[in-house]
Amino acid sequence: MTALPLIALVGNPNAGKSALFNALTGARQKTGNYPGVTVERHAGRLILPDGRPAELVDLPGTYSLEPTSPDEQVTRDVITGVQAGERRPDALVIVVDAGNLDNHLRFAGELIAQGIPAIIALNMIDMAERDGLTLDPERLSADLGVPVIPTVAVRKRGVEPLKDEMLTLLGKVATSPRPLSDDFGARQRQARAIAKAAILKEAPARATTQSIDRIVLHPVAGPIILAALLFVMFQAVFAWATPFADGIDAGVSAIHDAALAALPPGIFRSFVADGLIAGVGAVIVFLPQILILFAFILVLETTGYMVRAAFLMDRLMAGVGLSGRAFIPLLSSFACAVPGIMATRTIEDPKDRLTTILIAPLMTCSARLPVYAVIIAAFIPARNVLPGIGLQGLVLFGLYLGGIVGALVAALALRRTVTKGRGMGFMMEMPRYQMPILKNLLLGLWQRAWVFLKRAGTIIAVTTMILWALLNFPRVDPASGVSQVDHSIAGHIANGLAVVVEPIGFNRDISLALIPAMAAREVAVSALATTYAIDNQDESKRDQTLGERLKGSWSLPTALAFLVWFVFAPQCISTIAVVRRETNGWRWPLFMVAYLFALAYVGAGATFWLATYLGL
């Protein structure tokens, strides 16, 4: 079988490339990685007008072909045909923002000169028109020497003509690259001249975006709006998710009961019901919360607000030696540190980037939510401190804040010691505001939910099964009165660990939960669920929820110390692995693990003793 024709989407950031990619491929997408580098490869399949399939790859958005970041390196290497794991594309679709031709045409010119048959998607033409621009695509096409198709990716306008042109392009062969002028400024001026000729009529730019910016970038109102948005986001995560979480919980209980009823009593029933179903179920329950958090982040990203948040945060970030650019990776880390750390690739300054990577795990990722949720629900009373502001939500907000403050202090300390040196600062394009497109939003949410479910289905299922085995072997004789947990392998490991964590108020059950939680933090919840399910052979207590059981066995200082531990502890193998990959070695991940565990130990200890002293 011959390989499918390969078409690459390429262009500046903010040209609407991803929306066009979604419009062309629909849900037929695959996300992977280029070998050896941590640049994501987005590919999908599209059907050409003659019925032939073709592979479409969405290259990272970059400003030029000068390889200054891993993203730009990949884009350049794919186009010159030297990237490992990728063929040289048979055709290029160069995506340019119709409202920003001045800037995008310079890169487009550099791409056309590479000799691969190319076509220009004059994207977001509707917004350019609303902005008061009248463009002449034919003139543009004549000046650039390639076909130009006006498109509105989010409305699928121009997608069919684009596919027709792709078909024509695939019939052509690549020519040898044309030499470019060495003078960047000259290339820029030439591009501006072409843009000028293609603009028939021009009105002052961006009225809507400017009036929104006047409010959200206001020196006083701006930060207040940002803080309010983040606060609403975290309240929503707790409040909106509850009915869905209750529904999932009921479903898991029903499956658990059905398994108990259907299987004969014994070791296998315990494995399925208490190990597998209880363990995985305890984590799946948090899917609604995670989806709500992702939905907020996706909306903030696609509307263009995220860059404004970076602008507002830059001053504060500069105070601790970082740039506003670090805000976006750090905010993504609230969902998961792994994509957050990967997003640091957009930070060009190596020391800025390393500092951001090292503090990213302090941002409260969604995997901590299950842990926080269970403990908060069990130990913090559900009452309002002020109308509309619940105490539980406030504690959750406080935990998030604790992580942020910890991260800022850590950044300051790192910048004075291990990552000393002047940073490059903050320079960023602020794109127009855009209405989010529901379909693209749902597609993004689905991709993230799927990643989470895969994790639940693999890592979490495997670790809970291993934990179940560690907890159940060697078996004790039920008549002997010895606790199964105390006698088990895990019990012995935990007893050793308990000596270390006892001074910070942790009991044996917590040490037991911390071991598998190294795989993923949320496993702590399922581990606790498994532990208490196995240790509670008393049938009358079987119906208690995990929260009720915890409340019976932990003191409030212990619960608070446990929460603080999770604010800091680097309990996630995936994060450690991605830091190793991003920093090319074991030095930084080991440093990160050591400093975060030290912070967690000291923080949890201080919390426990303070709470005990206060008589909580």
């Binding site: 400003y63 030029s64 000068e66 200054t68 409202g99 920003n100 001045d102 800037n103 902005d131 960047f184 400024g185 820029q188 001026r189 501006r192 730019a205 961006r206 975006t209 400017q210 910016d213 006047r214 970038l217 206001h218 020196p219 006083v220 860059v307 970076a310 602008f311 507002l312 830059d314 001053r315 500069a318 506003g324 060009e348 300054d349 490059m424 600062g425 903050f426 320079m427 960023m428 394009e429 602020m430």
Partner: protein, 79 residues
């Protein structure tokens, strides 16, 4: 006048950019974002209540945020 001294909402022309006083990375990025001599520029917003840093400026049809330290190497003449 330097860009960091330019009052908000007063269009100006970039007279000179001191490329040589920027480090290579910052200069490359500033160029890629479209900064060039002869273009019109307008400071739109200041971040930071006291520091007025960074500055969001309109250059061409784009809005770009840069820090004062970089704005200080850009000479502008108000139009």
């Amino acid at each position: 006048m330097r860009l960091d001294e330019l009052p908000l909402n007063k269009p100006a022309t970039i007279a000179h950019i001191g490329w040589e006083s920027l480090d290579a990375g910052a200069a490359r990025r500033l160029r890629a974002l479209g900064f060039d001599e002869g273009l019109t520029i307008e400071a739109l917003h200041h971040g930071g209540l006291v520091s007025h840093d960074p500055i969001a400026c309109r250059i061409g049809r784009m809005t770009v945020a840069i820090r004062r330290i970089h704005a200080s190497v850009i000479d502008v003449s108000p139009s």
